[in-house]
């Protein structure tokens, strides 16, 4: 190790315990004194430790009395340390960790693929709902629910889209599939919106059911029609509610003996919603016209529509049974040219037969 001598007290020892100030070497006690005196005199008082270039600044290895370590940057370093700091190696464990991290990244992306798919479908569905394209949004949202039935957002969007197109079944299925219809945040705006829509739809269908009961009783057709219209207004998106309201208008016209209006409403309903029910109702209205006017073409059309209704029912036994009771009354109307209500028909013929 190199030696140095203090310029103040003459102490000679290893370079590493000396300091340099103003171009002179000092031992530690002397440098403090010299620095204090310099400060008091208003002169520069900074001092720096002397560097022994025979000692590696990083690992402390000694190069021998006659050779110094090379200076790298401003440090004397042995060849091993010089090579290390010039090109610091990545530790092996870090390389392994990086490989594991990359592997995890791949796993994360592969594992998350079905979630990406479901999420993308949900965002597309959300955008379509925002654009009020509910019919188009529903398939995307249903796809999301197959992976995430507990997602508040997906469920509420699905329910909203379904309710907006009058598909109560899908809305109900989505809501019930979410923890039996339980949502944590009842104050959430989307939840409140769907709840309001759901309540409105339910109220409308309750009114429709009440109207259907009233329709079975003679003299309540107008009241039933009114209820049906209220239901249709309450939930205009409801599938068939508007159409059903029109069919109830037929009942109201029948009760008022306005057979022209009855026929016109029944024809309109058949054209808009061609089904066994509207075909049968149209047949009944044509039979009324025949009974009143005796025009054989009405009778012919009525019998034809009755046949259409029968064909539309197909193999549905319960519907067929109800249809046969209805057809029997219409045939009586065509044969006798007497217009009597169902209740009156039952009183005259069916109860008698039962007795």
């Amino acid at each position: 190790m190199h030696q140095a001598t203090c310029s103040q007290c003459g102490l000679t020892t290893t370079v590493r315990s000396f300091y340099s100030m103003g171009g002179k070497n000092y031992c530690e006690p002397c440098v403090w004194k010299a620095a204090r005196e310099a400060r008091e005199a208003g002169q520069p008082s900074e001092y720096t430790p002397l560097q022994d270039n025979s000692i590696c600044q990083r690992c402390g290895s000694y190069s021998g009395d006659n050779a110094d370590h090379p200076i790298v940057g401003n440090l004397a370093l042995c060849s091993t340390c010089a090579a290390t700091i010039s090109n610091w190696p990545y530790p092996h464990w870090l390389k392994v960790s990086l490989a594991v991290l990359l592997l995890l990244l791949v796993v994360a992306l592969v594992h998350g693929r079905r979630y990406f798919h479901a999420g993308r479908a949900m965002y597309i569905g959300e955008r379509l709902v925002e654009e009020q394209q509910y019919e188009q949004a529903l398939p995307y949202l249903k796809e999301t629910l197959t992976i995430a039935p507990d997602s508040d957002k997906a469920v509420l969007l699905t329910a909203k889209a379904a309710l907006e197109i009058g598909d109560m079944g899908t809305a109900d299925k989505a809501i019930q599939g979410h923890s039996g219809g339980h949502f944590d945040d009842a104050d959430d705006h989307d939840f409140q919106e769907v709840k309001a829509l759901w309540d409105r739809a339910n109220a409308a269908f309750e009114k429709a059911a009440e109207a259907a009961k009233l329709e079975q009783q003679d003299g309540h057709a107008a009241e039933a029609a009114q209820l049906k219209h209220q239901a249709a207004e309450l939930y205009p998106q409801g599938r068939g509610l508007a159409g059903l309201a029109e069919t109830f208008d037929e009942g109201s016209a029948f009760e008022a003996k306005d057979y022209n209006l009855y026929l016109s409403n029944a024809q309109k309903a058949w054209e808009q919603y061609p089904s066994a029910g509207t075909a049968a109702a149209y047949s009944g209205a044509l039979a009324c016209k025949y009974a009143v006017e005796g025009d054989a073409s009405y009778r012919q059309q009525s019998e034809w529509m009755l046949e259409v209704a029968r064909l539309k029912i197909g193999s549905d036994r319960s519907q067929m049974k109800a249809f046969q009771l209805f057809a029997e009354r219409i045939r009586h109307r065509l044969e006798s040219r007497q217009i009597i209500s169902q209740e009156e028909y039952d009183r005259r013929f069916r109860r008698q037969a039962a007795q």
Binding site: A108, H111, G119
Partner: protein
């Protein structure tokens, strides 16, 4: 607000500390700076460090100091994106997704450079900016914001940054993809 010692947080989120220091080392090597000492993780303050030579090259200084900010933020977005949908949007109880969220947030939490890193840049950035160095001009507001964020660590700003990146990043990403 509750207090948890920094080293404890660092141990709970150790992947972020290692990635942070590895990013410093990577940019030091990229710009051929001499590295004197590296500590990737330890139970103390600081929890990791890279001692390297000073350089007059602002670009090198910028990337060595800010490298972890960009690297950690990017990795945070990627891992959190893989976990964001099942955890936040789809509410699927998937343990692997929660693991990826922890990993992403741990990395994101340690994205903010230390005050030491920022000080090095702050010393030279104004002068370089005056001389028209574009990177220095751009870096000034970024350094200022990160300084504030660094001091706000006592109120969990680093965790806040991680969550913001890990939640808002994927939201922006997926919404953009859905519109594409």
């Amino acid at each position: 607000m509750f207090f948890i010692p920094g080293p404890v947080i660092a141990m709970l989120t150790f992947p972020g500390v290692i990635v942070h220091e590895a990013a410093h080392l990577f940019f030091c090597k990229l710009f051929k700076l001499q590295v004197y000492e590296v500590c990737f993780l330890r139970f103390g303050n600081p929890t990791g460090y890279v001692l390297h030579e000073k350089t007059q090259d602002f670009t090198a200084s910028f990337f060595v100091s800010m490298g972890p900010f960009f690297g950690n933020t990017l990795l945070c977005i990627v891992f959190c994106s893989a976990a964001f949908l099942p955890v936040w949007e789809l509410r699927v109880a998937d343990p692997l997704a929660y693991f990826f969220y922890w990993l992403g947030l741990s990395i994101g939490m340690h994205a903010v450079p230390s005050t030491g890193d920022l000080s090095n840049l702050w010393e030279v950035a104004p002068l370089k900016a005056k001389r028209g160095n574009l990177l220095a001009i751009i870096s000034l507001p970024l350094i200022a914001v990160l300084y504030v964020l660094n001091f706000a660590r006592v109120v969990w700003a680093d965790l806040g940054f991680g969550i913001a990146v890990g939640v808002l990043g994927p939201i922006a990403l997926f919404r953009a993809l859905a519109r594409a």
